[in-house]
């Protein structure tokens, strides 16, 4: 077991760091809302131009042909520098890898290079107003008409939908079958979707609701077999859970660093209760870093992603919620009824963090996964 970069990994990290420092010189960290999205589009183009998009993808599809650990190293260095999120994060982390597993050769050649270049931005049409944690209960209907599928339904919590060209869409194709066996995955154009942004409790609108009415998707753009879409969905979810491990920890590290600075700026380093709370949270965040490295190493050693990513997700959500709550409630962010710029930052992070235990699988879903797969307890539903 080794937690240190190999000499080759260290060289790669240094190369990534040098490129990031130069490339980020022109990017402002303070961007919000629409200008942040413009930054994300520009960042995607920059990554692609200099060969940093698709680090772990095969070269024949436009990638760099390196391993998961390299990908994780680059992401770690990027997030550490507050680099913008590339606009096609869903395409690169979820859709592309899933197409590599389940797609035809024609689909791979058609879609993969355009994901990396950002020519086609992707969103993920999974959750519905009536199908959240119970994803397999989805009802968006696709009916075969000749060479096409006619799709009707609603999707919700769709990140980046307002910027996306394509959507990896789960549809119900056999309403009579058991719910996991009547689902088909389509790669749909979003041009004819009606997309409405949802304003979140912190004022951001990163999620959307999509209405899909009589939209036609050619059968050639079906991913995986008819009624075999649940397997595809499982692949997407596995990539979603494991791919984020190292990025999540850096996000937590950034918030922890801000907390340490806030304690210092308030002159309260000597407060014994704060020391103890900060120390506990520092341990949680460090565990995320170490667990992230362990998960990436296991993937790189050819092991399947397992339930350990549910553990990381639980600890991550709690750590950021605890850190942001502590800052607000200990008065480290100043007064809440006359917000300073710092106070506004903490309030924004605190409110955003409420979503961490809901998005990407709720705490309750993660605990059920651990209960069933690690503790071998009977299914609770």
């Amino acid at each position: 077991m080794n937690f240190r970069d190999s000499p080759e990994q260290a060289r790669f990290r240094a190369e990534a760091a040098a490129w990031l420092d130069a490339a980020l010189a022109g990017f402002s960290h303070a961007a919000t809302g629409a200008s942040r999205e413009e930054q994300s589009i520009a960042w995607q183009a920059r990554l692609h131009r200099d060969g940093w998009a698709g680090i772990a993808w095969p070269e024949e599809y436009g990638g760099r042909g390196l391993g998961h650990v390299h990908d994780a190293i680059f992401n770690e260095e990027a997030v550490r520098r507050n680099a913008p999120m590339p606009i096609n994060v869903i395409g690169m982390n979820l859709v592309g890898p899933t197409i590599m597993v389940h797609g035809s050769e024609a689909q791979k050649r058609r879609y993969l290079p355009r994901i990396l270049s950002g020519e086609e931005i992707w969103c993920q049409g999974f959750s519905e107003p009536g199908a959240g944690s119970d994803l397999a209960g989805l009802q968006t209907r696709a009916v075969r008409e000749g060479d096409d599928w006619r799709v009707n339904g609603r999707k919700i919590w769709t990140s980046w939908a307002h910027r996306a060209h394509k959507c990896i869409l789960l549809t119900r194709t056999d309403p009579a079958a058991p719910k996991h066996r009547g689902i088909t995955c389509l790669l749909a154009d979003t041009a004819d979707f009606e997309i409405r942004p949802i304003v979140m409790i912190n004022g951001d609108s990163e999620f959307n609701e999509m209405r899909i009415e009589d939209v036609k998707v050619p059968d050639a753009e079906r991913l995986g077999p008819v009624d075999g879409g649940w397997t595809v969905a499982t692949t997407v979810l596995a990539f979603e859970r494991s791919g984020a491990a190292l990025m999540l920890q850096v996000m937590a590290q950034q918030v922890l660093d801000r907390l340490l600075e806030a304690v210092r700026d308030a002159g309260r380093q000597g407060d014994p209760a704060l020391r103890r709370l900060v120390g506990k949270l520092a341990g949680d965040v460090e565990s995320l870093r170490v667990s992230g490295i362990r998960i990436m190493s296991a993937l790189a050693a050819g092991r399947e992603p397992g339930p350990e990513s549910s553990t990381v997700k639980l600890i991550w959500a709690r750590a950021i919620q605890d850190i942001t709550r502590l800052a607000l409630r200990e008065g480290l962010a100043g007064s809440l009824d006359a917000l300073s710029p710092d106070g506004a930052w903490w309030a924004d992070r605190y409110l955003r963090a409420r979503a961490h235990s809901i998005e990407g699988g709720t705490d309750e879903v993660q605990k059920s996964i651990i209960a069933e797969r690690v503790l071998a307890l009977p299914k609770s539903r």
Binding site: M1, D257, Q269, R276, K280, E286, V290
Partner: protein, 317 residues
Amino acid sequence: MQAVLTPEQDMIADTLQRLAAGGPQRARAVLNGQLPSAGPTDELMAGWRLLGLPESVGGTGDMIGAALLAEALGQAIEPGPFLAHFQALHALAGAGAALDAIGEGEVATLVDGDGIGRGGAVDWLVIGAEDRWRLARPAGAVAVQSIDPCCPLARHTAGETVSEAADGGQGRARVQVLLAAEACGVGRGALAIAADHARTREQFGRPIGAYQAIAHRLAQAMADLEAAWSLVLHAAWAVDDEPAAAGLAAAMAKAAAGDAAIQAAEACIQTHGGMGITREADPHLYLKRALAIDARFGRSAALHAEVGAARLAAIAA
């Protein structure tokens, strides 16, 4: 980065889990004032005492292997004296002291600044106080009551000091890694019997583990235990490969492991319902062991504060 167990480390874990089997029965025998069956102590003394010690003193130099040993014995709540002996050797070797004085077959035990350490027959005391480790002959002991009745403690009086070494932090880090790993094992053992019970005990016509109120408590405990185990592995690695970081890493690991083990053992008692609060069932053995480990060489609450102070000092500049 290649943070997966090596085949040798996997083998160490498997072998020791087999060796430690039957630990709860032996712990129960001690509790009942009976002489427990032989257990693995002789085999551990003969074949495993050098595991993870620095190569300079003839050890294997693999602290992760040593952590796996402590975890396996913790999981079986093994009541024998080997871990106290093992911790004593690691404390001395970490401080750079020679182990030559301790003959093969002689039993050392780790003693804190108040003279508290494992009771029973010992040949050597390794006393940790004020950042120094002292190797001394025992000169008497009075039994003291521990929260864990399966591991008898005593207040030792030291005789002649044979050698002494300033710690430099590495002895303490090794002891904390071993205690943290043992705590993780105790937590795992508690969750294993809790899950067994939740699978088989039926109420309202279903196994109670099918109720999320039961399942999710155990799942949360498992998540915290896994987080602590990551910190233990990293701290063990740091002892061998990044000594400057080992002190803080070990403090973090022991703090998290103490909390996680106690949480798991409390959850185990709650899962067992009425039987969980009796001496007739096993859950209390895990809780008492977890509390006893937490109390040794850095309580969780104190270590959290130590880590917090260190992190705040590091950004003060």
